[in-house]
């Protein structure tokens, strides 16, 4: 249990050095951007949501609003937050990954998103079946 906690606080970067683990975007902020319509969907995410679940943007948004920030590894049935990684292109930007089992209509989803460097837009990069 203690190891699990320790692992959550550190991360190993590509060079093998441990670094402070990035904190995810507060879900309250993510959900606020969703509710206010300040978000964009990557075309590939839209296509995979349609292929895997026959969902459109309304269902994607409804599903994202159900996400919780509890660690997925602790309880895969109930928890959703998976990891946060530094964005490969934008400095000071990170990408949050979520895995959610039976979150809506019995489907298991995998998604990742980030908030644009300007801070005003949520970008859904991926949304597909887990």
């Amino acid at each position: 249990m203690a190891d699990n906690f320790k692992n959550r606080l550190t991360n190993v970067n590509p060079k093998g050095h441990t670094q402070d683990k990035l904190k995810p975007y507060p879900l309250k902020r993510v959900k606020g951007l969703l509710k206010s319509g300040h978000y964009k969907i990557n075309e590939n995410a839209l296509i995979s949501a349609e292929e895997d679940f026959n969902w459109g943007p309304a269902e994607i948004m409804k599903c994202l609003l159900k996400l919780n920030s509890r660690h997925y590894v602790d309880d895969k049935k109930k928890n959703h937050y998976y990891k946060t990684e530094a964005h490969t292109q934008f400095p000071n930007t990170k990408m949050d990954y979520y895995k959610a089992e039976k979150i809506m209509e019995g489907f298991n989803i995998y998604t990742h998103f980030y908030i644009s460097p300007s801070g005003d837009t949520l970008v859904i990069s991926s949304f597909k079946e887990l």
């Binding site: 319509g37 964009k40 075309e43 349609e50 026959n54 948004m61 934008f90």
Partner: protein, 176 residues
């Protein structure tokens, strides 16, 4: 805004939007505004535009399903027999509820497309390409490829499932 993949500038484009769909193949949705990276091709859509694309695809899909002869559809009982599951399991199946099997409403009854049911049984997804031909990429190519007489004969034909993907050009030509 910059592209998340390559950090290049994104360009806002308004016009025809090319997309793809399991049921319709490659389709063009008119009057869509989207953000595109000219370097890596990443496309970002606003919720309104994404909804417009989804609605357009669904409408087209329904149009094509409605053109399939009723004889090709099964009742719920027949569909459950093909799938070898109970009616309860059928009605509770998430994918069936989400129209992974093509269906039509006949009064209060729902009918399920036989081929779609069989496909669902083998692959877990009953959706397939509803149109045999893809729409040509532009009007000139379209007119060269098909003669209007061919279209009228096609429209009068019995095998309505062979209809082409309906697009703006197609409708323009068909009703000209």
């Amino acid at each position: 805004m910059k592209c998340a993949e390559c950090n290049e500038n994104l360009e806002i484009i308004t016009g025809d939007f090319k997309s793809k769909n399991k049921s319709l193949g490659n389709i063009t949705v008119p009057e869509i505004s989207y953000t595109k990276c000219n370097n890596c091709g990443v496309i970002l859509l606003d919720p309104e535009m994404a909804q417009k694309i989804t609605t357009f695809k669904k409408r087209r899909e329904i149009e094509l399903i409605k053109r399939i002869p009723v004889g090709e559809f099964l009742t719920v009982t027949e569909a459950t027999e093909v799938l070898e599951i109970t009616k309860q399991a059928f009605s509770k199946n998430n994918k069936i509820k989400r129209n992974f099997i093509y269906n039509i409403n006949m009064g209060k009854k729902k009918l399920y497309h036989r081929k779609s049911v069989e496909l669902f049984k083998s692959t877990g997804d009953g959706r397939f390409l509803l149109s045999k031909q893809q729409k040509p990429s532009n009007k000139v190519e379209f007119k060269a490829q098909y003669d209007l007489k061919d279209f009228s004969s096609l429209l009068k034909g019995n095998n309505t499932a062979d209809l082409y993907t309906t697009e703006e050009d197609y409708e323009e030509a068909a009703y000209a």
